[in-house]
């Protein structure tokens, strides 16, 4: 799994820079899909029962686990709302994004 620090877009300046074989050499982490979102999930951790369902059903791999609790990575969360819908104790709420 590529680390976040190599989240850089690769741009070739000339044809000479291209690899001999057409193969992927970078990850898609440069593409911050969090900008697609217009509602954001917020987890009320005091009600969390640590079932791991939000982590399991996140299609964008943007719910991580830190210290046995779920944490949303807002750089990549697309705001689909599956976590809020599937949470058995409804401790995730979708709030409107403000700029």
């Amino acid at each position: 799994m590529p680390k976040k620090k190599d989240a850089k877009k690769i741009v070739f300046q000339s044809a000479d820079e291209m690899p001999m074989m057409p193969m992927s050499i970078g990850s898609m982490l440069y593409n911050k899909t969090g900008s697609w979102r217009n509602i954001r999930p917020e987890i009320r951790l005091e009600d969390c029962i640590q079932c791991g369902i939000c982590w399991k059903f996140c299609p964008d791999m943007s719910i991580g686990i830190e210290n046995e609790l779920p944490v949303v990575d807002y750089d990549y969360c697309k705001g689909c709302g599956i976590c809020a819908e599937e949470c058995p104790v409804k401790c995730i709420v979708m709030v409107e994004e403000r700029k």
């Binding site: 050499i25 990850s27 898609m28 982490l29 697609w36 005091e46």
Partner: protein, 299 residues
Amino acid sequence: MKKEKKMTLTLPVEEYAGSGNLACQGCGAGLAMRYFLKAMGPRTVLCIPACCWAVIDGPYPHSSLSVPIYHCAFEAAASTATGVKAGLEMVGDDKTTVVAWAGDGGTFDIGLQALSGAAERNDDILYVCYDNEAYMNTGIQRSSATPYGAWTTTTPVKFFKNQPKKDINAIMAAHRIPYQATASISYPEDLFKKAKKAKGVKGTRFLHIYAPCPTGWKSRPEDAVKLGRMVIQNCIFPLYEIEYGEKYTLNIKVKDKKPINDYLKLQGRFRHLKPDDIQIMQEEVDRNWARLLKKCEAS
């Protein structure tokens, strides 16, 4: 904030699919790939024809997956996988699993002859079809996986699709392949278990994964997982395994079958249906379910 309890995780934590991919919000295909690669591990080669995943993965030279991918022509997923497997065998690599990962168009319509050929030769590949019931990538055109009554851009509301969905699992069972199974993204443990089992079998394996598509089905993105669950409970897409085309195993025995109305109501593509059309669909579902139960009892 600290809690004493440990988090209960039913799947391994390693991720081989990365964030930043180009999937729509609430994409079922993204979830399918995530669970599938968790089961497969890093020693996997994917052959992806033209389908949603050819786009989701990202533009050259970037890739959101941490396994190698071979982008191939639309009709050639199975034959490309066969070739990759033969090449790997030539260099003495028998540990890598070669996977053809195609959408429903690349499996049911365009890739069917290559898949049938590979299954007849019993080549050692794992073919996965993630089924979102139309050509979603090119703009929601009808495929032979589209169910009866559905709206697509080529079957508009006035002339909605009049034919039922093709039974791809019966076609594959007729090839007597060693292992095939259906799975849904809403039952990740079941999908994980089946992918692990398929990895251990030699010969052609076939996985049919039900992947809801909020964009094409005109449903809300947050309902994707709910739709994947409803489809099992009202027996439109039962979960079962077939070994050698004969031994049927039903994984989830649905006790009280729910009517399909709630499932249809959540999707905009079925909004135009009259009660008579829904009745036709319900009868079709009942017939298929009864046929499957009979096959399971017979084996």
